[in-house]
């Protein structure tokens, strides 16, 4: 499956560099964020691949690294019973990546969650609102600089 994926992807997207990482018995492709939607669409719709289940979309905050965030996609192919991970780097200065909810509708809420927790904007998302925190909340709580106990008064309590 690894060889097949590598061959098909490099053939389909010759201008994009795919970094192949293998760890924890899972295959990961790391590539530039500009190609997220075409690659995902290709992985979902091509015969023999059919990654038809988007299990999760989440992010990692590396705090001091140049490309601060990594957006992670966990995909599963029901047909091949194969799990794949995609990673794209996102910098804080341009903190956005195109939404894959047009490819998998299941990506809608995980992307909202990633937006809520890390402040990464998912472009062309149909309904990019906060998932867990209140609408008027101004911070992104899973970013490394956010204090564990929160910022006093960030979420108002009802009056006694």
């Amino acid at each position: 499956m690894k060889e097949l994926l590598n061959e098909k992807l490099t053939k389909q997207f010759p201008e994009i560099h795919f970094e192949v990482i293998e760890q924890f018995d899972e295959l990961t492709f790391k590539f530039d964020k500009s190609a997220v939607v075409p690659v995902c669409k290709y992985l979902k719709e091509t015969d023999g691949l059919k990654f038809n289940l988007c299990e999760d979309v989440t992010a990692v905050d590396w705090a001091t690294r140049k490309n601060r965030f990594t957006v992670v996609y966990h995909l599963f192919s029901m047909e091949n019973k194969f799990r794949l991970c995609l990673k794209v780097d996102v910098d804080e200065s341009e903190c956005s990546v195109e939404s894959v909810s047009s490819v998998w509708r299941a990506a809608n809420w995980p992307e909202r969650e990633a937006y809520d927790m890390y402040g990464i904007t998912f472009l062309k998302h149909p309904d990019l609102r906060r998932m867990y925190m209140p609408e008027e909340f101004e911070y992104y709580p899973l970013r490394k600089e956010y204090p564990l106990m929160g910022i006093p008064g960030a979420v108002p309590l009802p009056k006694k």
Partner: protein, 179 residues
């Protein structure tokens, strides 16, 4: 039997309306089961035949706040949920009491985090805290008994919002002085 033996003497006994009302109120506390997380399971267990909260006259768990005297807040209250809890509390008729059941509700418990209220006493007047994670049904019953003690001791003077004795004459004075 307690009551009959009293009645056989002269057929009556004397008390105050205040004390009688407190006694009646004490023995039919209707709880509002504000079950938010795992403590609610123990709260349900305290209603089953083994622990039987109806021994204390509190088996009528009402799922509308408008018929309740006691709110049992059972579970982790997040900042987002706090507004809901407060809204429900505000709908309960006076007089009303609150049990903070379990560690999370009382202090935030193991959730020392930005999203959990570190104790519901920050926005609700709590009468009894039940310790435990979650507290066993016996512990909840103990909390209920403490609430009953408290209710039994309350008198009209403890409710500042209620018109007190002599209120009417004061109002008459006010009326007369205006005219």
């Amino acid at each position: 039997m307690g009551l009959e033996s009293k009645l056989t003497n002269d057929g009556f006994f004397t008390t105050t309306v205040d004390a009688l009302a407190a006694w009646a109120r004490e023995n039919s506390v209707w709880p509002m089961p504000m079950g938010i997380s795992c403590c609610a399971i123990e709260m349900m267990a305290s209603g089953d035949p083994k622990y039987d909260i109806s021994r204390f006259g509190s088996e009528v768990m009402r799922f509308t706040p408008r018929q309740c005297d006691l709110m049992i807040v059972a579970g982790t209250v997040t900042y987002k949920m706090a507004h809901v809890v407060k809204k429900i509390y505000d709908q309960m008729p006076e007089p009303k009491w609150v049990i903070a059941m379990g560690a999370c509700t009382s202090t935030g418990g193991m959730y020392r985090s930005y999203n959990v209220v570190q104790g519901i006493d920050q926005f609700l007047p709590v009468d009894v805290y039940a310790a435990g994670c979650p507290p066993r049904p016996e512990n909840l019953l103990n909390a209920l008994m403490q609430i009953q003690d408290k209710i039994g001791k309350t008198r009209v003077k403890d409710f500042p919002d209620v018109p007190q004795a002599g209120f009417e004459s004061k109002q008459n004075e006010l009326f007369l002085s205006k005219n």
